[in-house]
Symmetry: C2
Subunit: 330 residues, 2 copies
Amino acid sequence: MNYKAIKLVKRPETQIESDGFSLVELNIPELNDGEFLIKQTHMSLDPAMRGWMSAATDSYIAPVELGDIMRSSGVGEVVESRHESFPVGTKVAGLFGWTEYLASDGTGVSVMPKELPAEAILSVLALSGVTAYHGLMEIAKPKAGETLLVSGAAGSVGSIVGQIAKAEGLRVIGVAGSDDKCRWLTEELGFDDAINYKTADLESAVREAAPNGIDIYFENTGGPIQHITFNHMNTFGRVVVCGVISDYNSISPAAAPSWINVVKKRLNIQGFAMPDQFHRFGELSQKVGAYLMKGQIKYRSHVLDGLESAIDGINLLFTGGNEGKLIVKV
Amino acid sequence: MNYKAIKLVKRPETQIESDGFSLVELNIPELNDGEFLIKQTHMSLDPAMRGWMSAATDSYIAPVELGDIMRSSGVGEVVESRHESFPVGTKVAGLFGWTEYLASDGTGVSVMPKELPAEAILSVLALSGVTAYHGLMEIAKPKAGETLLVSGAAGSVGSIVGQIAKAEGLRVIGVAGSDDKCRWLTEELGFDDAINYKTADLESAVREAAPNGIDIYFENTGGPIQHITFNHMNTFGRVVVCGVISDYNSISPAAAPSWINVVKKRLNIQGFAMPDQFHRFGELSQKVGAYLMKGQIKYRSHVLDGLESAIDGINLLFTGGNEGKLIVKV
């Protein structure tokens, strides 16, 4: 029996192009003792993938080798097993890649509760949720009453950052790229304010949304909002840099704000990357799960259909075309 | 009897101009009980003064009011006293301002050992030394074997940063603005390497001086070296921003490096300002003193003669014309 998978065959120079991928048909492997076969049902598309596709050696995780199946996290079901801990029917999550099937010996594979929808796992308990929790709670260390501004607020990480911050008693301002996203943030997720960076006068919008200044800036996007937000930071403010997606496809990344305010206001700017925390994934996932159980985290997933839809679909992350966590139903 | 003092009468827009100051003659005041009269012998000129002269309200210390005596730290001798703890002949240090004499009730005035030269007090034990110690040891937290690059390395703070880092077992690279300063850093102070930013090809100079990358960047100056150093930071590197003197006189501060590397390399950028630590001045001063006693800190002072020399002399800090700690012998 055959299955489909997608390999990375060319590294993008700027934009991700469809000729960078190759759709292949592979034979489902015979299982050895201690192995099991996963049928992937849902896979996650994330901004970090752009970095995994580059040859750049100074990033925090090894690039995907040319000719290898593209890396991604996903959820699936065990459909054949010679491994006691992963019987047929087990719901599993892990770094499965762009493929319909894969064999595994269990390394890096987590068992998931059957009743939890794959969308909830990939939207909240997986990379997005633990990234949001770690960046906000462990790096920025928010205090109730502070003001947080999060860019990419309607994105998979940003939407969870804002909701955890609300649960912790902060004033939360989201920056997103459409009126619909902004409405979702304020009306559905409970953000205090939302700014459409494509249409707003950013300077006055930030001033109005944060009349007492900004204590925590959770940065996902870069772009003009970065400089304006930085000018509104309060003394002892913290900037958590999770990503600068507007620069990932660019050959010359945009400059950041002068360090004059870093001195004057004693600001802290801290970058982070989740692979450093992968050994704590279970612990962090449980902490995010607690907010989910209390109904404090809502999510919206944007589901594409079929493995091949990943090839063009990944660019939605860079155009802002996705509405919620981008997921491929395999 | 009269004495001379200098008041701030106009705030600089960019450069500090001499018409911003006014030389006045004042009467030496009658002392009340609990007061004493200080004859200032030496006063310190520091880059931070540029900020004190501005009206900007978002800085970390209140500006000098127009019509007030210009603020500065200095060393002097008690010449008349109605205060038991400060008898005539006591050597004292404090924020005395641009003046020949002042009356004090002892608030904020420290007693200094008589045998310590005023130049050593102002060069090492005062603001420069505690700034260097706090920024390096308490913020950057260096580990032996790491590589540090310090800009403004021949300056009052930078030269002490580099020497403490050497004492702590780091590889130390200094960036300064003349061959003479660079020679002083490597031949007298024991720096491992020094780069003349005015004449060197900065990219190759940094690469050669730091073949294993830079773990700690102690930033005093800003300018083109900032972007190049930032590109050579190692993973988990720390940037301590003490000042960006090249931007202080500028209306539009230069942009800083993109935050892409902040994410990729999980860098930390932390600004600091010593007024936050003034309550720890004695403790910090003792810690710097320990290096001085062991002969691990050398200093060079650039002494100007007479109170009025401060007016033009302060600009030496911004042109890089001073060689060592800038001090006015009153």
